[in-house]
Symmetry: C2
Subunit: 125 residues, 2 copies
């Protein structure tokens, strides 16, 4: 299979057409996907999904994102071992954001932090 | 003051330049901002912030977003009364996503649901 360099065009994947019809994508064909630890409620990270990444996330049990920087699909944990087992996926009221509840193994952040939001808390004034 | 129709250009606002320098914005000048109920951990909604909305969020105690559809700043709750009091704001490891912990009054969703992710849970297979 050739490696895609752009997100899949809407309607070109095996994603349920009834779901695909409800998605409101960015100009790049993506939706932001918030990953949350299902039991503690920790917000772990935000990734991006096209229709194909969403389809794989719904059907493989493993969170799959579209990497905007590497321009390829990315199964969370394939390199690091820090996998995300999918517990549930919800689409928001506007159809433009996903909430994926997962069971995160180890650190969600590539820095080794548990979440991507641990290191840089901004000052309130 | 005239009403802006586009997000503020980076560097044009009163946002702390040390923070502004760490932001990686979309082509539209925005960052996704995940709003989370600070005590229960509920993911309430996802909005968008430009530098000015982030500055207002950090300094007014009330969550302020940039509305992509209405093309204006939007203080959550100004119309509905469903305000978000800001408890903390964190920037993620890549500088491209915000996590805002808030105390949400009433429903976060315009549909009346507590969160924007309550109504459309997608089937796993």
């Amino acid at each position: 299979m050739s490696t895609p360099t752009t997100p899949a065009a809407p309607g070109s994947t095996a994603l349920d057409p009834a779901i695909a019809a409800r998605l409101k994508r960015t100009d790049d064909g993506l939706l932001p996907a918030v990953a949350q630890q299902y039991d503690t409620g920790e917000v772990l990270m935000l990734g991006w999904m096209d229709d194909e990444a969403l389809h794989r996330t719904l059907t493989t049990g493993r969170c799959t994102y579209w990497s905007r920087s590497r321009r390829e699909y990315w199964v969370k944990g394939d390199t690091s071992g820090h996998v995300q087992k999918v517990k549930s996926v919800a689409l928001d009221c506007d159809g433009d954001t996903l909430l994926v509840r997962v069971d995160q193994t180890g650190a969600a952040c590539h820095t080794g932090d548990r979440t991507c939001f641990d290191a840089d808390v901004l000052p309130l004034s």
